[in-house]
């Protein structure tokens, strides 16, 4: 059922995944600023340690004690609300339906 080429494909996929993991590890130092974008326009930029809540059209972003998270969203799937809170450099919470991005850098 399996042939030689399958092993190569599997190996390529594993390598790709490992490189991805390695990149995440390298860049995952704790960040300190939060950028909130809506429709690719920056609507908020501030320290991760400055406790605040940012109200957007459909979303509320909460920043407290070095963590950022999406408090609520008016979209159907609620993926961004279920996303774990973020603190590390490069991490982001994305709400696709409302085109909102919360990013640490």
């Amino acid at each position: 059922m399996l042939k030689k080429g399958d092993g190569i494909i599997l190996l390529a996929v594993v390598i790709l995944a490992v490189i991805g993991f390695a990149l995440i590890k390298v860049f995952s130092a704790n960040g300190n600023t939060v950028t909130v974008k809506e429709d690719n326009k920056i609507v908020y930029k501030g320290s991760l340690y400055e406790n605040t809540q940012i109200k957007l059209e459909g979303n509320t972003v909460d920043i407290s004690d070095g963590y950022a998270k999406m408090l609520n969203a008016d979209c159907k799937n609620q993926i961004c609300v279920k996303h774990k809170q973020i603190s590390k450099n490069g991490e982001s919470i994305i709400c696709l339906p409302n085109r909102v991005i919360v990013q640490i850098n």
């Binding site: 059922m1 399996l2 042939k3 030689k4 080429g5 399958d6 494909i9 599997l10 996929v13 594993v14 790709l16 995944a17 490992v18 490189i19 991805g20 993991f21 990149l23 995440i24 974008k37 690719n40 799937n77 993926i79 279920k82 996303h83 490069g90 991490e91 982001s92 994305i94 696709l96 339906p97 085109r99 991005i101 990013q103």
Partner: protein, 173 residues
């Protein structure tokens, strides 16, 4: 059989048209079933992609046109019925790229259906990531490992499913 085969790959016969219709309908049923079962606990937006089995079967039967036709009809109809413009962009990118790539790979005889399916699954996810990067920016790159693994696992499952089916079916003979 070879004469009949070459005939059937070049001409759109009524029989093939019927087959494509039936397969598209089957894909939509798969799409509906998958929209009912949420696998979001694994990673947001993860799906098994049962309808890709149909495209994969057609590709292994060297019917690229058929695979394209069924896949694109399926994507458009599924987006219309259960999706949104955003999900349409994601599906189209993934669907077209994976069909082309899988077809090219099927030319290599050292690759089995399962390998084709794994490659197709991963390519599908990577191209969806490109769309995500266009929409939300380069930060989406952090999703690569998750996409590789989920793509490979769902691809393997679909591939096993297909290789079992291929032994039982006389599709397009």
């Amino acid at each position: 059989m070879s004469a009949k085969q070459s005939d059937s790959t070049n001409k759109l016969t009524a029989k093939k048209l019927c087959l494509y219709g039936i397969l598209t309908a089957l894909c939509i049923v798969f799409g509906y079933l998958e929209s009912l079962v949420s696998l979001d606990f694994i990673a947001p937006g993860v799906k098994l992609g049962l309808s890709n089995a149909v495209a994969l079967l057609l590709i292994t039967k060297k019917d690229l046109k058929g695979a394209f036709a069924v896949n694109i009809a399926r994507i458009l109809l599924c987006a219309l019925l259960f999706g949104s413009p955003v999900s349409l962009a994601f599906s189209l990118a993934g669907g077209i790229a994976s069909v082309i790539f899988t077809f090219l790979l099927s030319k290599i005889k050292y690759v089995s259906v399962i390998g084709l399916s794994i490659a197709g699954g991963v390519i599908h996810n990577i191209f969806q990531l490109f769309v995500a990067m266009i929409i939300v920016g380069v930060g989406a790159v952090f999703y690569v490992p998750v996409l590789c693994i989920t793509g490979a696992v769902s691809g393997a499952l679909i591939g096993i499913f297909c290789s079992v089916l291929l032994n039982k079916l006389n599709l397009l003979k």
